[in-house]
Amino acid sequence: MKTLNEYLPGQKVILGRPALFDEVALRLAELGLCEGATVTITRRGPLGDPLEVEVKTTRICLRAEKARQYPADLSPAGVRP
């Protein structure tokens, strides 16, 4: 399965269960990045890191290294125009 880090800006995905539920994962979950949440990848920082995603009109940054711990499926809702 692909990870959150492998999708492109503009793609909408559904998050799976993170490989490691640590402090960072807890904070991400508290901000809305829970298992099953629909997340849009918005953009990447300069040189590809960090990653900006949007969940329910909240923009959140996380590092690519963390995004790799989240399995993610392309959402049926597809790509945001």
Binding site: R17, L20, F21, D22, E23, V24, A25, L26, R27, L28, A29, E30, L31, G32, C34, E35, T42, R43, G45, P46, L47, D49, P50, E52, K56, T57, T58, R59, I60, C61, L62, R63, K66
Partner: protein, 689 residues
């Protein structure tokens, strides 16, 4: 202070808490000092008739399981565990109606911990304008708690809410919160906040991560459930979000973004470096002028009192006040940047670079400000939420070459490298200046790297960052922040700076040589007042006496005593005296050298006679005191040494301890000594100097 019931404002960062706090408390707010915590907690009063309520603006937090030190303060206050006199009587949960679902996560936590609270809804006007519909009464019903509209920028809502607070607040503090439920202990454990919250750790047979994950999922579901019942949003993307999308396309663009920030921070830097200067000169002028005016009331036959008043008291006041323009400008700008949402974008853009050193993107602002002055820069570390990262930043910020070092560099370059041949077609002075700044930045980053891995060992801060919606910043709020910070500096650091100024004055004044003083009076009296050069001759007598008095003073003797320690660096006793004097402020080195060389008061780095005196100074054996190598060694010393009492006072204020400023002084002085020693000795071995 402790008798009034306490209302605390709890909420996510960017929930509109501070705006509401300012609206509720007006101009009566102040930055409070609480033992055991190193951040500012703002407190203000609501007064109506003989009723008084204390309102506390807690640091923003996303969760009751705190992840950082400032969140821990908020949580400990809510749980009644920070300090006995800071137990809340009433908790106000501030919820942003335009991000209701996410903000309701805190409500779900309060609910599950059975903590009573009142909701203050902000941004309902924006929600209405964007076509969202919120059933306020329904929300109150679902939550089973009172809910009021209370946007800080709506005076009617604020007025009504203030009245509700006064009516609802009760005299007894809230009962102690039960922090024993396993789900909560698991959340706290995973967040790494066990010590801060003081709850028992889940047992070894419990999979804390699994329990915590289930708890968050459950709390988030509860938040969604509540939001779905009371809130309907239009299908189209809200206008504020679309505007934010558009601005971010530029601000976070990989090329355009950094360029915009370079311009923005260039302006801020210019403001600190250049635009603050006239204000600082103005303060000097006014304080100095008032001093001159008032010293006239002290009789002429009391020269010691005059000196104490002018060089001790007046210059002490000046030394303190002179920092206010830079502090005010920096915090005005930071407040505007933070409020608008721009500061979070800086962290996004700079994360790659700053995380290499092991610091958060937010450490960039103190570093940049450090080029102007370490005092406001150290105060600006407040934005760094991890205590150890903040300490690391505070410890290394004074290594960044501040503007007060520039006159010293200039004087040394102009005297010992004036005749040097250009290297690669570029002036040697330019190379040296470039090297000094390079050394300072390199040292700051390297020491930060070392501290982060040893003394202040902590993980590279995780970048989990909310990029808030852009909002129009409020100038009034920014001005208020600037004023509060300036006042807090005067109150907390001012006394120390003033006291050290007096100590330095005494070091440079006592013991006095009464015979020489009498001789000076006699010589001046004997001058032919009608002669054309009478004034010059009197000046020369006075300058010579000042040099003698300095030599005679404790500071002068200290300089002589230090000579054996300093000579391996290439310094003579006069430089030792200059180094002691520069503790008041580094640029004082220049005027002290003027005094030492008998050129009188007020010499600056452009002074031709000072340059000549330095160039021509020799040791008794005829060797020049100032060789290019001595100059280089002296510059290295000034780059690295901690010679600024005001910076130490700022460190003392921000760390609320004497240990850290003492450590800062010790490590920087040791670093400077060793680096200068290596420079001078290796240089000599290589045949320079």
């Amino acid at each position: 202070m402790t008798s009034a019931p306490t209302v605390v404002l709890l909420g996510n960062p960017n929930a509109g808490k501070t705006t509401l706090f300012n609206a509720l408390t007006g101009l009566r707010a102040k930055v409070g000092n609480y033992p055991g915590i190193t951040m500012d907690v703002r407190a203000g009063d609501i007064v109506a008739g003989d009723q008084r309520v204390q309102v506390i603006d807690l640091p923003g937090t996303y969760s009751l399981a705190p992840h950082s030190d400032d969140e821990a303060v908020a949580v400990r206050v809510v749980l009644g565990r920070l300090a006995p006199h800071l137990v809340p009587h009433h908790i106000v949960l501030v919820l942003d109606a335009t991000h209701l679902e996410r903000h309701l996560y805190l409500a779900a936590q309060l609910e599950r911990l059975q903590i009573p609270y009142t909701v203050a809804l902000t941004m309902t006007d924006t929600l209405d304008a964007e076509g969202g519909r919120l059933d306020v009464a329904g929300l109150a019903q679902v939550l089973g708690r009172p809910v009021y509209r209370a946007s800080g920028n709506n005076p009617d809502e604020v007025q009504a809410f203030r009245q509700r607070l006064l009516d609802d607040v009760r005299d007894e503090p809230l009962p102690a919160v039960d922090v024993t439920p396993l789900w909560y202990r698991a959340l706290v454990e995973v967040a790494g906040a066990g010590d801060a919250v003081g709850s028992d750790r889940p047992g070894p047979d419990v999979d804390a991560a699994a329990v915590a994950k289930d708890a968050v999922d459950g709390l988030a579901r509860r938040a969604t459930e509540i939001a779905d019942q009371v809130l309907t949003m239009p299908d189209e993307r809200p206008r504020s979000e679309r505007r934010t999308d558009a601005i971010d396309r530029v601000m976070l663009h990989p090329v355009a973004g950094p360029m915009v920030f370079v311009v923005l921070f260039g302006l801020l830097f210019q403001a600190l470096f250049t635009w603050a200067a006239p204000l600082m000169d103005g303060i000097d002028l006014v304080v100095g002028g008032l001093g001159e005016l008032l010293v006239g009331y002290i009789p002429d036959d009391m020269p010691l009192s005059k000196s104490l008043f002018l060089d001790g008291v007046v210059s002490g006041v000046g030394n303190v006040l002179v920092f206010v323009p830079q502090i005010a400008i920096l915090f005005l700008a930071l407040s505007l940047l933070e409020d608008s949402g721009l500061l979070a974008r800086v962290a996004f853009l700079l994360d790659r670079v700053m995380s290499r050193v092991g610091l958060h993107g937010r450490a960039f602002v103190p570093f940049l400000s450090g080029f102007a002055c370490a005092v406001p820069a150290i105060m600006a570390t407040r934005a760094i939420s991890s205590h150890k990262d903040r300490l690391t930043t505070i410890m290394v910020t004074p290594l960044i070459s501040c503007s007060a070092r520039l006159p010293v560099y200039t004087l040394i370059i102009a005297t010992v490298f004036a005749t040097a041949e250009p290297v690669l077609g570029i002036n040697v002075g330019t190379w040296i200046l470039f090297g000094a700044y390079g050394l300072s930045v390199g040292a700051a980053l390297a020491i930060a790297f070392v501290f982060k891995r040893t003394l202040l060992k902590s993980p590279v801060p995780s970048l989990v960052l909310e990029l808030p919606v852009y909002r129009r910043p409020r100038l009034g709020q920014a001005a208020k922040t600037a004023a509060e910070k300036s006042f807090a500096f005067l109150r907390d650091a001012g006394t120390i700076i003033f006291a050290i100024t007096l100590v330095l004055w005494a070091l440079f004044t006592f013991p006095r040589d009464d015979a020489a003083q009498a001789q000076l009076q006699a010589d001046v009296a004997a001058l032919d007042k009608t002669a054309e050069d009478a004034e010059e001759r009197e000046q020369a007598l006075r300058s010579a006496h000042a040099a003698h008095a300095l030599d005679h003073s404790v500071a002068g003797r200290l300089g002589h005593a230090l000579e054996p320690v300093l000579s391996p660096l290439g310094f003579d006793w006069k430089i030792g005296v200059g180094v002691i004097a520069s503790f008041a402020a580094r640029e004082v080195f220049v005027s002290t050298m003027g005094l030492v060389y008998g050129l009188g008061d007020g010499t600056d780095e452009e002074s031709v006679s000072l340059k000549h005196a330095i160039q021509n100074d020799t040791y008794p054996n005829g060797e020049k005191v100032y060789t290019p190598l001595t100059g280089l060694s002296l510059i290295v010393f000034f780059v690295l040494a901690m010679q600024c009492m005001s910076t130490l006072a700022a460190t003392r204020r921000e760390t609320r301890s004497y240990r850290w400023p003492v450590f800062q002084f010790a490590y920087m002085t040791a670093l400077a000594y060793v680096a200068s020693l290596i420079t001078f000795q290796v240089g000599r071995l290589l045949g320079f100097g």
